[in-house]
């Protein structure tokens, strides 16, 4: 399982540019544009590196992709023919260049473990993961942020203690185990939620695909029964992911809030006689929004890439399961395609929080 990154460092850890001397607005904009350009360039470099590393791993891995294609009974001649057809007889650098050329044209090739074009597979599996991760993050934010704020405001109180235990238990639980137990209890015994998978089997393929997010698609189609069915299936795995997300978000919120609450302006505000509520929500909370958004983005990113085991336990046809399965079958087109998508999201989320940081944080100006 991938635990959320706990440093909570905004973006790539670049220190805010030292400011001080007020400069002309135009110059500031120009500088900001240049730094954004630099960010985009580094994003491209990171992605290229990501591709290269995945590619090399894929080629040195002792899993023979040809076997998956030709099967157990193939003769040597059939094997050779398939190997050449897959382009594996060419030197490695040539294979990489060919692959890059295809990727730039938007073609991720064909998966050997599903028989479908990788791009088509990804359009199917990625929304499943996005749906799960989004709902998980939503739960994490809705519960984690208030919990963290209250814990900081009543520091040392019983809410703070409970919040601490809740968070630490969240970090310590093997998610696949909790998932299995949850499925047994809430589906098998109590029957409160839907079973494994994204939908009841009867609803399979009944809602036309628009976004790939079944909750959204069923709303677009106006099919309430399908919506309820999909919701009953997603609620348990999303709550589990939400729990991990809330553990992280509540801890980070608490420590940001503590920092703010000890700041001078809070003391001033209190001296001025503002209500405690006003001080906490109106002043301190307002100031932690920017780092909090970064934390939430990172948490969302880690749910996107870190839900492999949840997906396996809940038969959730998401991208984590897709990449894992492909990896074990030596299906490198699928692994590369999947890694590019997940990596891009991660880098993009980082970039986004960087930009937000630069635009919104007064100290960064």
């Amino acid at each position: 399982m991938v635990q959320p990154d706990m440093t909570g460092q905004p973006g790539r850890g670049t220190p805010p540019p030292a400011g001080g001397v007020p400069s002309a607005r135009a110059a500031r904009l120009r500088r900001r544009a240049r730094s954004l350009g630099g960010l985009v360039l580094s994003l491209a470099l990171t992605l290229l590196g990501l591709l290269l590393v995945t590619f090399v791993i894929g080629r040195v891995m002792p899993i023979d992709p040809v076997l998956k294609v030709v099967g157990e009974r193939a003769t040597q001649a059939q094997y050779e023919a398939a190997r050449i057809a897959m382009g594996l007889d060419k030197p490695l650098w040539q294979q990489f260049l060919l692959y890059m050329g295809e990727v730039l044209r938007g073609d991720f090739g064909r998966s050997i473990s599903t028989g479908h074009p990788v791009a088509q597979d990804l359009r199917r599996v990625f929304p499943a993961t996005v749906e799960l991760a989004s709902l998980g993050t939503l739960i994490g934010v809705c519960v984690g942020v208030p919990l963290g704020v209250v814990a900081a405001a009543r520091r040392g109180g019983w809410i703070d203690q409970i919040a601490r235990v809740v968070a630490l238990v969240g970090y310590s639980m093997p998610i696949f185990w909790l998932g299995l137990m949850g499925l047994l209890l809430f589906y098998g015994i109590l029957g409160w939620v839907g079973g494994p998978g994204r939908q009841g089997i009867i609803y399979d393929g009944m809602v036309p695909t628009v976004t790939g997010l079944i909750l959204v698609d069923s709303l677009i189609a106006g099919d309430w029964a399908a919506f309820r069915d999909a919701f009953s299936h997603i609620v348990l795995p999303a709550s589990l992911l939400g729990y991990f997300s809330l553990a992280y978000i509540s801890r980070m919120t608490r420590s940001f809030m503590l920092e703010q609450l000890s700041a001078e302006y809070v003391v001033t505000a209190r001296v001025k006689g503002l209500s405690e509520r006003r001080v906490i929500w109106g002043h301190a909370f307002r100031n932690i929004l920017v780092p909090l958004i970064t934390v939430i983005a990172l948490s969302f990113g880690s749910l996107l890439e870190g839900s492999v085991l949840t997906e396996i336990v809940f038969s959730w046809p998401g991208i984590g399961q897709y990449i894992t399965k492909a990896l074990l079958a030596g299906d490198m087109n699928a692994v590369l395609g999947g890694t590019v998508v997940v990596g891009t999201c991660f880098v993009a989320l980082n970039l986004l929080s960087d930009i937000l940081y630069r635009l919104l944080d007064p100290r960064a100006k």
């Binding site: 706990m6 460092q9 002792p62 235990v165 093997p174 990896l327």
Partner: protein, 301 residues
């Protein structure tokens, strides 16, 4: 402890360097000791180490002895935690498995932060293109889905406990590198570094003698907090069949074995699950307490 030692340790005006250092440590210990949850964590971990050290003497039965006639028996006087699918005593397997867990955690905790420390401080201290290159590499590894990268490594090297540890170490260093770099950037231009430089200290000496020691405390906090994650990742690899190989009683692999029987024989998966939970909770409690003591920023909570 006598009153005089205590007074010596807590003295406001330490006479020697040693007294000052010991005093600081003792202060830290007092803060740590006041944190009841952290003490619980520490106690559990000490227990774990003892159990692992004396496993062959503590375990009631041979963890490898099979008995197909006695399989899947519920907890009883003879088998306190029941038996697994091959009739092996689960308690004995858990006890022996604690060695595996400690091995994994210990090794990863030794390798990953050291790589991270090295990469991060060099990047932060050297700056320029070295920084750029090293940080791009770090970013690439960060952008990778972590478990999948570990899977790929294990698949490439072959399954086994040693390779699983290596894979976890290789995938978990980037956050340490980030952290170390950030720390280095804040102290790089400090006066005393400049002073040391003026005294003629070379870059390597500055790095090892002055920068590394200052980065270590925040790294230790981070490691303590990450331990649980490492245990869970190792269990995840075991769960996917790529970690420890049979018949080694690795806890994650034991859960994986037990999930087949989860509906009727819950204890086979639940017991190792509980073990993992308790140990990672202990690490988290410890880490939380350590952060209060060591982390100068968020500290003294």
């Amino acid at each position: 402890m006598t009153e005089t030692t205590r007074a010596w340790l807590l003295s406001d005006a330490p006479q020697t360097r040693r007294q000052a250092r010991m005093g600081a440590l003792y202060q830290g210990w007092l803060t740590f000791r006041a944190n009841r949850l952290a003490m619980v964590g520490l106690a559990i971990l000490i227990l774990l180490v003892l159990v692992a050290a004396f496993a062959p003497w503590i375990a009631p039965q041979n963890p490898y002895a099979q008995n197909l006639a006695e399989r899947l028996k519920p907890p009883s006087a003879q088998h306190w935690l029941g038996t697994d699918a091959l009739g092996r005593d689960i308690l004995s397997r858990l006890i022996h498995g604690s060695r595996v867990t400690l091995f994994i955690v210990g090794t990863v905790a030794l390798i990953a932060p050291v790589i991270g420390l090295f990469v991060g401080t060099v990047a932060g201290f050297a700056g320029g293109w070295v920084d750029q290159v090293l940080m791009r590499i770090t970013d690439i590894f960060l952008a990778f889905p972590k478990l999948i990268l570990a899977l790929a490594f294990v698949a490439a090297l072959g399954p086994g406990i040693g390779n699983a540890v290596l894979a976890l170490a290789v995938t978990s260093w980037p956050p340490y590198a980030r952290l170390a770099r950030a720390e280095t950037l804040t102290i790089r231009n400090a006066d005393y570094i400049a002073a040391a430089r003026l005294q003629g200290a070379g870059p390597l000496r500055l790095l090892i003698g002055h920068i590394w020691p200052l980065c270590v405390s925040s790294l230790i906090v981070r490691v303590a907090l990450d331990m649980a994650g490492i245990i869970l990742s190792a269990a995840g690899l075991g769960f996917l069949g790529l970690g420890a190989q049979p018949p080694m009683p690795e806890w994650g692999a034991m859960i994986s074995d037990g999930r087949t029987y989860i509906l009727d024989f819950w204890w086979v998966a639940a017991m190792p699950g509980m073990a993992i939970f308790i140990v990672s909770l202990a690490f988290n409690l410890l880490g939380d307490g350590l952060r209060d003591v060591l982390d100068p920023k968020g500290g003294r909570e």
